[in-house]
């Protein structure tokens, strides 16, 4: 457990945890599960097993319950993702505005296949990102980009170093 966090990370985790726990009734610590896992992921980039154990202890539940949540929600990574997680919406509204082409273009440009986790890129198809009127769209590490075309996308890709 000691090597899970650096001293700085540990301090941020503890501070974040006590703030989050204050949002819920004292006997409902488990309710802080999603925010706490988000906190862990913001510190580590993913949710390692040791963190699940730690979270389980802090929220007075079991690692199984943490694992259930961590594997249910797609934004939680139980495996270390690439540096850039690129979520491309390919749902109907986006596909009607060229999302399938955009995904193919990204696959070519990044030299990866959707759904494969690499060191640098984790490109994946995701479901509707609420940009239907501003399609097509994608998110890079949760930063939202919409109304994309080739020129805009190229420019965006240049920033991913």
């Amino acid at each position: 457990m000691s090597d899970l966090f650096t001293a700085d990370e540990r301090a941020r985790f503890d501070a974040g945890l006590s703030e989050l726990l204050s949002h819920y009734p004292a006997d409902r610590k488990r309710a802080a599960m999603l925010p706490v896992l988000r906190l862990v992921q913001s510190l580590k980039g993913w949710i390692p097993p040791e963190a699940m154990k730690l979270v389980a202890e802090k929220l007075e539940t079991t690692p199984e319950r943490v694992q259930e949540v961590a594997t249910f929600y797609v934004m939680f990574h139980t495996q270390k993702p690439g540096k850039y997680v690129i979520d491309v919406c390919t749902n109907l509204s986006c596909s009607l505005r060229g999302a399938e082409g955009m995904l193919a273009y990204l696959e070519r440009r990044l030299g990866t296949k959707a759904g494969t986790n690499g060191d640098k890129y984790f490109l994946r198809e995701t479901e509707c990102l609420a940009s239907c009127g501003t399609a097509p769209c994608l998110q890079v590490n949760e930063d939202h980009h919409e109304n994309l075309d080739k020129a805009k996308l190229d420019k965006l890709l240049e920033t991913l170093t």
Binding site: T62, E64, T71, V74
Partner: protein
């Protein structure tokens, strides 16, 4: 998506106020009909249980009367006059005047659809599945579906043999995600070691990949409640096909809780224990430790009586053994120390202690039995002896004093014991050390079911039948007396405790008026106030099922399906 209920077909929220209800037909109860048959039930009863009352079976997978309602399998959907769409019978409480229909086309279509959905990603590997023969998928497929699969192409692949813990192995492909096991571990065992991981069609039951292990002492129950072949007992796996096994109602003799069991056997071999429903004692559960105590019924048994010790030892038949024991006991009557084990049935104790008191003229007996062990919050008790209560009652009723085992050891240490008569040879101390103390005793007559260092010291070792080999009763710690049924005849040349005791008594000239355990109870129980009123015949549970015996198992001594190479081993197990 957003907000309250999902866009499509949002279930209507509750009405603003309850409409005026007509008065109930049977005040205090709810009256309604199931397939036209009128049922009267307590308020709050769900439709599945209510339908059972009139013999209507509503099929289900996820429902279990002792677990919370999940309503996730959707197999129990029925038509109800109180709802526009099909309702899950397990979740829905009956209401006054409602008419439930369980056999309409709509219901049949739903049952068939659910069967098809469940079998969609199921491997259908029944031929190598232990659950075959007692599988709800098989049973319901034959009854409610019976159609070929319409799925083409591959199925979702998952882990086929994942060892979850010391007792249980999981085949995730066979799992139908009814979550009974997860709910059991949460709600009954209170050790939430299982979870449903992932989402949608890729989700699976598992323990935590890094920290998890299904190590609970109650993990075996998830195998029992698994409606399909996903969770299997590692001890039973690949050892027998369910339909060859016969079952007899019995009790677990692993501790003083005395859980009701089914003994599943083939020929004279026991293959497993399963919990038998008993609201007062074990509900529907059994602990893993108790589950494995069946092994002593098969292994290390004393099958043939032996007289003489060491080099003089020779195997004899029962009649000879009795003669020998009586001959040796006769000169020492009045000076025999008696050791009795609280693992012996009431009938064995009644006959044995009668012999001790009336014939051998003992004033007290020493209590042997197994040493105390771990207890837990649910079922398992520290006292590992199934019939201590019975022993206490009987000794008191017959006027015998019970003395602790340590006093016998003390007497042995002081060389005060010349002759010992042991009814059961379990001892609460190291058997090797105790056996050494017996070496100097001039006469040891021992009735034993299993070989041990103690039995090796006997001058007359009387091969004794186990509790599944004779009718009898056991009294558990809370004073509940339970009848056990005979599963199969005594192994080898063994015979029940009472038969040895009565044989010796007769040989020593006493008048013995019983020739069966039933008669033992009838003759001797009246002197024990606690047992006097027990209705021995009426309390006998009705035997469950007979296995399909293709050939008498004893014909060549091998169970059906036996292969020369033995039981197949699987990698990783």
């Amino acid at each position: 998506m957003s907000e309250p209920t999902k866009p499509a077909g949002a279930p209507a929220p509750p009405p603003p106020g309850p409409p005026a209800k007509p008065p109930p037909k049977n005040p205090g109860f709810v009256t309604f009909t199931v397939d036209g048959k009128e049922v009267v039930a307590k308020p709050g009863t769900n439709m599945v249980e209510a339908a059972k009352q009139v013999g209507v079976e509503i099929p289900y997978y996820c429902y279990h009367p002792r677990l919370s309602i999940a309503a996730n399998c959707r197999m129990c959907m029925v038509e109800s006059s109180g709802a526009p769409k099909l309702v899950p019978a397990c979740q829905t409480a009956i209401a006054e005047g409602v008419a439930i229909k369980t056999t309409t086309d709509k219901v049949r279509d739903q049952q068939r659809a659910v069967m098809e959905f469940l079998l969609l990603n199921h491997p259908v590997d029944c031929s190598i599945c232990d659950q075959a023969g007692e599988c709800k998928l098989q049973d319901y497929y034959m009854r409610y579906d019976h159609k070929p699969s319409r799925l083409e192409g591959s199925k979702v692949l998952r882990n086929k043999r994942k060892v979850l813990g010391p007792t249980v192995v999981l085949d995730q492909e066979r799992c139908i995600l009814c979550t009974r096991c997860v709910r059991f571990m949460d709600e009954v065992a209170k050790e939430p070691q299982l979870g449903v991981f992932g989402r949608g069609s890729h989700e699976r039951i598992d323990v935590h990949p890094t920290y998890g292990s299904l190590s609970s002492n109650y993990s075996g129950n998830v195998v029992d409640i698994c409606p399909v072949g996903a969770l299997l007992n590692r001890d039973f796996r690949f050892r027998a096909r369910a339909w060859f096994l016969s079952s007899a109602p019995s009790v677990c003799t692993g501790c003083s809780r005395g859980c009701s069991t089914w003994v599943d056997f083939m020929g004279q071999d026991v293959y497993r224990y399963r919990p038998r429903e008993n609201e007062a004692i074990n509900k529907s559960w059994l602990c893993d430790q108790g589950r494995l105590t069946y092994k002593a019924l098969n292994k290390g048994r004393v099958a043939q009586s032996v007289v003489g010790r060491g080099q003089d030892a020779r195997e004899v038949n029962a009649a000879e053994a009795i003669k020998y024991a009586a001959l040796k006991l006769k000169p020492v009557v009045g000076g025999v120390h008696v050791l009795v084990s609280p693992t012996v049935s009431n009938e064995g104790l009644l006959a044995g202690l009668s012999l001790a008191k009336d014939v051998l003229q003992a004033k007290h007996v020493y209590v042997g039995g197994r040493a105390n062990g771990a207890a837990d919050a649910l079922l398992m008790t520290a006292d590992k002896n199934p019939n201590r209560k019975g022993l206490e009652w009987i000794a008191k009723g017959l006027g015998l004093e019970l003395k602790p085992f340590a006093e016998l050891e003390g007497a042995l240490d002081k060389n005060q014991v010349k002759a010992l008569y042991a009814i059961g040879t379990a001892v609460p101390v190291d058997p090797d050390a105790f056996a050494k103390k017996l070496a100097g005793v001039e006469l040891v007559v021992a009735q034993a079911t299993n070989e041990s260092p103690v039995t090796a010291q006997a001058h007359a070792l009387l091969a004794t039948a186990s509790h599944v080999e004779d009718e009898g009763t056991f009294t558990q710690e809370a004073g509940i007396t339970q009848r056990v049924r005979r599963a199969f005849p005594p192994r080898g040349d063994s015979q029940p405790h009472w038969k040895w005791s009565s044989g010796i008594a007769k040989e020593l000239g006493a008048a013995v008026a019983y020739g069966s355990s039933r008669e033992v109870f009838k003759a001797l129980a009246p002197s024990v106030p606690e047992l006097a009123g027990y209705e021995w015949d009426k309390q006998a549970p009705i035997a469950q099922k007979k296995g399909i015996s293709t050939l008498p198992a004893s014909a060549d001594g091998r169970p059906p399906g036996w292969r020369e190479t033995g039981v197949p081993r699987v990698r990783g197990i």
